[in-house]
Point group: C2
Chain length 204, copies 2
Protein backbone atom coordinates (compact mmCIF):
# COMPACT_ATOMS: atom_id res chain seq x y z
CA UNK A 1 0.00 0.00 0.00
CA UNK A 2 2.91 2.34 0.68
CA UNK A 3 4.84 1.85 -2.53
CA UNK A 4 2.80 0.93 -5.51
CA UNK A 5 4.21 -0.20 -8.80
CA UNK A 6 4.70 3.24 -10.31
CA UNK A 7 6.60 4.35 -7.24
CA UNK A 8 8.83 1.32 -7.48
CA UNK A 9 9.51 2.08 -11.12
CA UNK A 10 10.41 5.64 -10.27
CA UNK A 11 12.85 4.47 -7.62
CA UNK A 12 14.59 2.18 -10.07
CA UNK A 13 14.56 5.07 -12.50
CA UNK A 14 16.58 7.22 -10.14
CA UNK A 15 19.27 4.59 -9.75
CA UNK A 16 19.41 4.03 -13.48
CA UNK A 17 19.73 7.75 -14.11
CA UNK A 18 22.61 8.10 -11.70
CA UNK A 19 24.43 5.18 -13.25
CA UNK A 20 23.86 6.49 -16.77
CA UNK A 21 25.26 9.85 -15.72
CA UNK A 22 28.27 8.32 -14.01
CA UNK A 23 29.28 5.60 -16.44
CA UNK A 24 27.22 6.27 -19.56
CA UNK A 25 24.45 4.11 -20.91
CA UNK A 26 26.74 1.60 -22.61
CA UNK A 27 28.80 1.38 -19.42
CA UNK A 28 25.94 0.28 -17.21
CA UNK A 29 24.29 -3.11 -17.48
CA UNK A 30 20.88 -4.26 -16.44
CA UNK A 31 22.54 -6.10 -13.59
CA UNK A 32 24.11 -2.87 -12.38
CA UNK A 33 20.74 -1.18 -12.29
CA UNK A 34 19.13 -4.12 -10.53
CA UNK A 35 21.88 -4.27 -7.96
CA UNK A 36 21.78 -0.54 -7.31
CA UNK A 37 18.03 -0.69 -6.86
CA UNK A 38 18.22 -3.77 -4.66
CA UNK A 39 16.13 -5.86 -6.97
CA UNK A 40 16.65 -8.92 -9.05
CA UNK A 41 17.48 -8.44 -12.68
CA UNK A 42 14.27 -10.23 -13.53
CA UNK A 43 12.14 -7.66 -11.76
CA UNK A 44 13.87 -4.83 -13.57
CA UNK A 45 12.90 -6.37 -16.91
CA UNK A 46 9.41 -6.83 -15.63
CA UNK A 47 9.25 -3.11 -14.90
CA UNK A 48 10.91 -1.90 -18.10
CA UNK A 49 10.92 -3.15 -21.65
CA UNK A 50 14.49 -2.00 -22.28
CA UNK A 51 17.52 -0.56 -20.57
CA UNK A 52 16.96 2.98 -21.82
CA UNK A 53 13.32 2.84 -20.78
CA UNK A 54 14.54 2.61 -17.20
CA UNK A 55 14.74 6.39 -17.05
CA UNK A 56 11.31 7.08 -18.51
CA UNK A 57 9.54 7.40 -15.17
CA UNK A 58 12.04 10.04 -14.15
CA UNK A 59 11.50 11.95 -17.36
CA UNK A 60 7.78 11.57 -17.06
CA UNK A 61 7.67 12.56 -13.41
CA UNK A 62 8.02 16.27 -14.04
CA UNK A 63 5.70 16.17 -17.05
CA UNK A 64 3.13 14.40 -14.97
CA UNK A 65 3.42 16.86 -12.14
CA UNK A 66 3.19 19.72 -14.59
CA UNK A 67 0.15 18.17 -16.21
CA UNK A 68 -1.53 17.61 -12.87
CA UNK A 69 -0.94 21.28 -12.09
CA UNK A 70 -2.53 22.23 -15.39
CA UNK A 71 -5.46 19.99 -14.62
CA UNK A 72 -6.35 22.34 -11.77
CA UNK A 73 -6.08 25.39 -14.03
CA UNK A 74 -9.31 27.36 -13.46
CA UNK A 75 -11.11 28.35 -16.61
CA UNK A 76 -11.09 32.02 -15.61
CA UNK A 77 -7.34 32.34 -15.20
CA UNK A 78 -4.69 33.10 -17.77
CA UNK A 79 -1.78 30.75 -18.17
CA UNK A 80 0.76 33.26 -16.89
CA UNK A 81 -1.19 34.14 -13.78
CA UNK A 82 -2.02 30.56 -13.01
CA UNK A 83 1.46 29.11 -13.39
CA UNK A 84 3.02 31.81 -11.22
CA UNK A 85 0.38 31.22 -8.61
CA UNK A 86 0.39 27.44 -8.73
CA UNK A 87 4.09 26.68 -8.96
CA UNK A 88 6.01 27.73 -5.92
CA UNK A 89 9.35 26.41 -4.74
CA UNK A 90 7.96 25.74 -1.29
CA UNK A 91 5.48 23.27 -2.66
CA UNK A 92 8.22 21.09 -4.04
CA UNK A 93 9.50 18.28 -1.90
CA UNK A 94 13.25 17.69 -1.78
CA UNK A 95 12.66 14.47 -3.65
CA UNK A 96 10.90 16.29 -6.46
CA UNK A 97 13.69 18.81 -6.70
CA UNK A 98 16.28 16.05 -6.82
CA UNK A 99 14.29 14.30 -9.51
CA UNK A 100 14.11 17.48 -11.55
CA UNK A 101 17.85 17.97 -11.27
CA UNK A 102 18.43 14.42 -12.39
CA UNK A 103 16.08 14.84 -15.31
CA UNK A 104 17.75 18.08 -16.36
CA UNK A 105 21.15 16.46 -16.30
CA UNK A 106 19.84 13.57 -18.39
CA UNK A 107 18.28 15.89 -20.94
CA UNK A 108 21.57 17.73 -21.22
CA UNK A 109 23.15 14.36 -21.90
CA UNK A 110 20.92 13.65 -24.89
CA UNK A 111 23.33 14.89 -27.55
CA UNK A 112 26.06 12.64 -26.17
CA UNK A 113 23.80 9.67 -25.54
CA UNK A 114 21.46 9.19 -28.51
CA UNK A 115 20.09 6.03 -26.94
CA UNK A 116 18.44 8.10 -24.23
CA UNK A 117 16.50 10.17 -26.72
CA UNK A 118 14.02 7.37 -27.33
CA UNK A 119 13.15 7.39 -23.64
CA UNK A 120 12.92 11.17 -23.61
CA UNK A 121 10.60 11.27 -26.61
CA UNK A 122 8.43 8.52 -25.21
CA UNK A 123 8.06 10.49 -21.99
CA UNK A 124 7.10 13.58 -23.95
CA UNK A 125 4.52 11.45 -25.65
CA UNK A 126 2.89 10.51 -22.37
CA UNK A 127 3.02 14.18 -21.41
CA UNK A 128 1.23 14.97 -24.63
CA UNK A 129 -1.52 12.53 -23.79
CA UNK A 130 -1.96 14.20 -20.44
CA UNK A 131 -2.21 17.58 -22.11
CA UNK A 132 -4.98 16.41 -24.38
CA UNK A 133 -7.45 16.35 -21.52
CA UNK A 134 -6.43 19.79 -20.34
CA UNK A 135 -6.82 21.25 -23.81
CA UNK A 136 -10.12 19.46 -24.29
CA UNK A 137 -11.56 20.91 -21.12
CA UNK A 138 -10.41 24.45 -21.81
CA UNK A 139 -11.59 24.39 -25.38
CA UNK A 140 -14.84 22.63 -24.51
CA UNK A 141 -14.20 19.92 -27.03
CA UNK A 142 -13.70 16.21 -26.93
CA UNK A 143 -10.28 14.67 -26.30
CA UNK A 144 -10.67 12.80 -29.55
CA UNK A 145 -11.10 16.02 -31.53
CA UNK A 146 -8.39 16.48 -34.12
CA UNK A 147 -7.75 20.12 -33.27
CA UNK A 148 -7.48 19.26 -29.62
CA UNK A 149 -4.85 16.65 -30.28
CA UNK A 150 -3.01 19.00 -32.59
CA UNK A 151 -2.98 21.72 -29.99
CA UNK A 152 -1.75 19.37 -27.30
CA UNK A 153 1.01 18.12 -29.57
CA UNK A 154 2.13 21.64 -30.45
CA UNK A 155 2.13 22.72 -26.82
CA UNK A 156 4.02 19.66 -25.69
CA UNK A 157 6.57 20.18 -28.45
CA UNK A 158 7.08 23.74 -27.27
CA UNK A 159 7.51 22.62 -23.67
CA UNK A 160 9.99 20.04 -24.82
CA UNK A 161 12.06 22.64 -26.63
CA UNK A 162 12.05 24.86 -23.55
CA UNK A 163 13.10 21.90 -21.47
CA UNK A 164 15.94 20.96 -23.77
CA UNK A 165 17.02 24.55 -24.03
CA UNK A 166 17.04 25.23 -20.32
CA UNK A 167 18.69 21.92 -19.53
CA UNK A 168 21.58 22.32 -21.92
CA UNK A 169 22.08 25.94 -20.88
CA UNK A 170 22.06 24.98 -17.21
CA UNK A 171 24.44 22.04 -17.52
CA UNK A 172 26.76 22.66 -20.43
CA UNK A 173 26.95 26.45 -19.99
CA UNK A 174 26.45 26.45 -16.23
CA UNK A 175 23.80 29.11 -16.51
CA UNK A 176 21.68 29.76 -13.47
CA UNK A 177 17.93 30.12 -13.71
CA UNK A 178 15.37 31.49 -11.32
CA UNK A 179 12.08 29.67 -11.09
CA UNK A 180 9.95 32.69 -12.09
CA UNK A 181 11.99 33.07 -15.27
CA UNK A 182 11.48 29.46 -16.20
CA UNK A 183 7.78 29.78 -15.52
CA UNK A 184 7.70 32.81 -17.78
CA UNK A 185 9.39 30.83 -20.51
CA UNK A 186 7.00 27.94 -20.12
CA UNK A 187 3.95 30.17 -20.13
CA UNK A 188 5.19 32.06 -23.14
CA UNK A 189 5.91 28.84 -24.99
CA UNK A 190 2.47 27.49 -24.22
CA UNK A 191 0.82 30.69 -25.34
CA UNK A 192 2.87 30.84 -28.51
CA UNK A 193 2.37 27.24 -29.50
CA UNK A 194 -1.25 26.74 -28.51
CA UNK A 195 -3.46 26.53 -31.56
CA UNK A 196 -6.70 26.88 -29.65
CA UNK A 197 -7.71 29.77 -27.37
CA UNK A 198 -6.88 28.10 -24.09
CA UNK A 199 -4.42 30.53 -22.54
CA UNK A 200 -6.81 33.28 -21.55
CA UNK A 201 -9.91 33.05 -19.40
CA UNK A 202 -12.53 31.02 -21.19
CA UNK A 203 -16.31 31.21 -20.78
CA UNK A 204 -18.19 31.48 -17.48
Amino acid sequence: MTADREDARLIVSRHAAKLFLERGVAGTSGDDIAEAAGLSKRTVWRYFRSKEACVEPLFSASSLRFASVLREWPLQTSIEAYLHEAIRPLDQTPQEIADDVLAVRLVALLPAEPALRTAWLMSCHVGEEQLIDVVAQRSRRLPTDFDVRLCAAAVMAALRVVDEDVSTAAITESRKFELPDIIDQMAKAIRTASTLPICDPVGP
Copy 2:
Protein backbone atom coordinates in the same frame (compact mmCIF):
# COMPACT_ATOMS: atom_id res chain seq x y z
CA MET B 1 28.46 4.09 -56.15
CA THR B 2 24.96 2.98 -57.09
CA ALA B 3 23.70 2.07 -53.65
CA ASP B 4 25.19 4.07 -50.88
CA ARG B 5 24.79 3.29 -47.24
CA GLU B 6 21.54 5.18 -46.72
CA ASP B 7 19.99 3.40 -49.67
CA ALA B 8 21.04 0.07 -48.24
CA ARG B 9 19.52 0.99 -44.91
CA LEU B 10 16.27 1.93 -46.60
CA ILE B 11 16.16 -1.38 -48.42
CA VAL B 12 16.59 -3.30 -45.18
CA SER B 13 13.97 -1.03 -43.71
CA ARG B 14 11.39 -2.16 -46.27
CA HIS B 15 11.97 -5.81 -45.49
CA ALA B 16 11.79 -5.17 -41.77
CA ALA B 17 8.55 -3.24 -42.19
CA LYS B 18 6.92 -6.04 -44.15
CA LEU B 19 7.94 -8.60 -41.58
CA PHE B 20 6.72 -6.45 -38.71
CA LEU B 21 3.38 -6.05 -40.46
CA GLU B 22 3.08 -9.76 -41.19
CA ARG B 23 4.28 -11.33 -37.97
CA GLY B 24 4.51 -8.44 -35.52
CA VAL B 25 7.66 -7.02 -34.01
CA ALA B 26 8.05 -9.71 -31.36
CA GLY B 27 7.49 -12.35 -34.02
CA THR B 28 10.38 -11.31 -36.22
CA SER B 29 13.99 -11.74 -35.24
CA GLY B 30 17.07 -9.94 -36.40
CA ASP B 31 17.97 -13.06 -38.33
CA ASP B 32 14.66 -12.92 -40.16
CA ILE B 33 15.32 -9.35 -41.22
CA ALA B 34 18.87 -10.14 -42.28
CA GLU B 35 17.75 -13.16 -44.26
CA ALA B 36 14.94 -11.25 -45.97
CA ALA B 37 17.32 -8.49 -46.90
CA GLY B 38 19.99 -10.92 -48.09
CA LEU B 39 22.53 -9.72 -45.60
CA SER B 40 24.34 -11.19 -42.66
CA LYS B 41 22.94 -10.52 -39.24
CA ARG B 42 26.12 -8.69 -38.39
CA THR B 43 25.60 -6.14 -41.13
CA VAL B 44 22.07 -5.48 -39.96
CA TRP B 45 23.36 -4.59 -36.51
CA ARG B 46 25.98 -2.42 -38.12
CA TYR B 47 23.21 -0.51 -39.87
CA PHE B 48 20.82 -0.28 -36.96
CA ARG B 49 21.27 0.06 -33.23
CA SER B 50 18.16 -1.98 -32.45
CA LYS B 51 15.48 -4.11 -34.02
CA GLU B 52 12.82 -1.40 -33.94
CA ALA B 53 15.23 1.12 -35.41
CA CYS B 54 15.23 -1.00 -38.56
CA VAL B 55 12.12 0.84 -39.76
CA GLU B 56 13.38 4.34 -39.06
CA PRO B 57 14.66 4.99 -42.58
CA LEU B 58 11.25 4.12 -43.93
CA PHE B 59 9.57 6.48 -41.51
CA SER B 60 12.10 9.16 -42.24
CA ALA B 61 11.91 8.73 -45.99
CA SER B 62 8.68 10.63 -46.40
CA SER B 63 9.67 13.27 -43.86
CA LEU B 64 12.92 13.76 -45.72
CA ARG B 65 11.19 14.05 -49.06
CA PHE B 66 8.68 16.48 -47.58
CA ALA B 67 11.48 18.52 -46.06
CA SER B 68 13.39 18.61 -49.32
CA VAL B 69 10.25 19.89 -51.01
CA LEU B 70 9.94 22.60 -48.39
CA ARG B 71 13.56 23.49 -48.90
CA GLU B 72 12.63 24.67 -52.41
CA TRP B 73 9.72 26.73 -51.10
CA PRO B 74 10.11 30.19 -52.65
CA LEU B 75 9.91 33.07 -50.22
CA GLN B 76 7.13 34.73 -52.22
CA THR B 77 4.74 31.78 -52.14
CA SER B 78 2.18 30.82 -49.52
CA ILE B 79 2.30 27.35 -48.05
CA GLU B 80 -1.01 26.31 -49.60
CA ALA B 81 -0.10 27.45 -53.10
CA TYR B 82 3.35 25.96 -52.93
CA LEU B 83 2.41 22.55 -51.64
CA HIS B 84 -0.32 22.11 -54.22
CA GLU B 85 2.06 23.16 -56.93
CA ALA B 86 5.06 21.17 -55.75
CA ILE B 87 3.44 17.89 -54.76
CA ARG B 88 1.94 16.06 -57.67
CA PRO B 89 1.19 12.37 -57.89
CA LEU B 90 3.02 12.12 -61.19
CA ASP B 91 6.27 13.15 -59.55
CA GLN B 92 6.17 10.20 -57.22
CA THR B 93 7.97 7.06 -58.26
CA PRO B 94 6.25 3.72 -57.65
CA GLN B 95 8.90 3.00 -55.06
CA GLU B 96 8.09 6.17 -53.17
CA ILE B 97 4.39 5.36 -53.24
CA ALA B 98 5.04 1.86 -51.96
CA ASP B 99 7.22 3.29 -49.20
CA ASP B 100 4.50 5.70 -48.20
CA VAL B 101 1.95 2.92 -48.07
CA LEU B 102 4.27 0.87 -45.91
CA ALA B 103 4.88 3.81 -43.60
CA VAL B 104 1.17 4.51 -43.29
CA ARG B 105 0.46 0.92 -42.39
CA LEU B 106 3.22 1.00 -39.78
CA VAL B 107 1.91 4.21 -38.25
CA ALA B 108 -1.51 2.66 -38.03
CA LEU B 109 0.13 -0.21 -36.19
CA LEU B 110 1.57 2.03 -33.47
CA PRO B 111 -1.24 1.53 -30.96
CA ALA B 112 -0.85 -2.23 -31.24
CA GLU B 113 2.94 -2.20 -31.31
CA PRO B 114 4.25 0.24 -28.71
CA ALA B 115 7.80 -0.79 -29.48
CA LEU B 116 7.55 0.84 -32.89
CA ARG B 117 6.67 4.21 -31.40
CA THR B 118 10.27 4.86 -30.39
CA ALA B 119 11.30 4.51 -34.03
CA TRP B 120 8.43 6.72 -35.15
CA LEU B 121 9.28 9.47 -32.69
CA MET B 122 12.96 9.32 -33.56
CA SER B 123 12.07 9.76 -37.22
CA CYS B 124 9.88 12.72 -36.38
CA HIS B 125 12.85 14.12 -34.53
CA VAL B 126 15.04 13.99 -37.62
CA GLY B 127 12.18 15.56 -39.56
CA GLU B 128 12.12 18.33 -37.00
CA GLU B 129 15.81 18.98 -37.51
CA GLN B 130 15.24 19.27 -41.23
CA LEU B 131 12.44 21.75 -40.63
CA ILE B 132 14.67 23.98 -38.56
CA ASP B 133 16.58 25.10 -41.62
CA VAL B 134 13.42 25.79 -43.56
CA VAL B 135 11.98 27.87 -40.75
CA ALA B 136 15.28 29.67 -40.28
CA GLN B 137 15.42 30.70 -43.90
CA ARG B 138 11.85 31.88 -44.08
CA SER B 139 12.05 33.82 -40.85
CA ARG B 140 15.50 35.19 -41.68
CA ARG B 141 16.90 33.95 -38.42
CA LEU B 142 19.58 31.54 -37.37
CA PRO B 143 18.88 27.82 -37.04
CA THR B 144 20.13 28.04 -33.47
CA ASP B 145 17.52 30.68 -32.58
CA PHE B 146 15.18 29.49 -29.85
CA ASP B 147 12.04 30.70 -31.61
CA VAL B 148 13.09 28.98 -34.79
CA ARG B 149 13.53 25.68 -33.02
CA LEU B 150 10.25 26.13 -31.23
CA CYS B 151 8.43 26.82 -34.46
CA ALA B 152 9.99 23.82 -36.16
CA ALA B 153 9.03 21.60 -33.24
CA ALA B 154 5.44 22.84 -33.25
CA VAL B 155 5.11 22.40 -37.00
CA MET B 156 6.61 18.94 -36.92
CA ALA B 157 4.29 17.97 -34.07
CA ALA B 158 1.33 19.13 -36.14
CA LEU B 159 2.50 17.16 -39.16
CA ARG B 160 2.94 14.13 -36.98
CA VAL B 161 -0.62 14.39 -35.70
CA VAL B 162 -1.93 14.71 -39.24
CA ASP B 163 0.11 11.71 -40.23
CA GLU B 164 -1.15 9.60 -37.35
CA ASP B 165 -4.69 10.73 -37.96
CA VAL B 166 -4.68 10.02 -41.68
CA SER B 167 -2.90 6.72 -41.24
CA THR B 168 -5.28 5.32 -38.67
CA ALA B 169 -8.29 6.55 -40.62
CA ALA B 170 -6.98 5.01 -43.81
CA ILE B 171 -6.09 1.64 -42.34
CA THR B 172 -8.37 0.96 -39.42
CA GLU B 173 -11.43 2.71 -40.88
CA SER B 174 -10.57 2.03 -44.52
CA ARG B 175 -11.17 5.64 -45.40
CA LYS B 176 -10.00 6.81 -48.79
CA PHE B 177 -8.11 10.05 -49.20
CA GLU B 178 -7.34 12.15 -52.25
CA LEU B 179 -3.93 13.72 -52.41
CA PRO B 180 -5.26 17.32 -52.64
CA ASP B 181 -7.20 16.79 -49.43
CA ILE B 182 -4.17 15.53 -47.61
CA ILE B 183 -2.15 18.46 -48.89
CA ASP B 184 -4.85 20.78 -47.61
CA GLN B 185 -4.68 19.16 -44.22
CA MET B 186 -0.90 19.40 -44.12
CA ALA B 187 -0.89 23.02 -45.18
CA LYS B 188 -3.57 23.91 -42.69
CA ALA B 189 -1.69 22.13 -39.92
CA ILE B 190 1.52 23.93 -40.77
CA ARG B 191 -0.24 27.28 -40.86
CA THR B 192 -2.03 26.61 -37.59
CA ALA B 193 0.98 25.39 -35.70
CA SER B 194 3.65 27.71 -37.02
CA THR B 195 4.66 30.23 -34.41
CA LEU B 196 6.58 32.46 -36.80
CA PRO B 197 5.21 34.15 -39.92
CA ILE B 198 6.53 31.67 -42.43
CA CYS B 199 3.38 30.58 -44.23
CA ASP B 200 2.74 33.67 -46.28
CA PRO B 201 5.05 35.41 -48.73
CA VAL B 202 7.95 36.93 -46.86
CA GLY B 203 9.88 40.00 -48.03
CA PRO B 204 11.89 40.09 -51.25
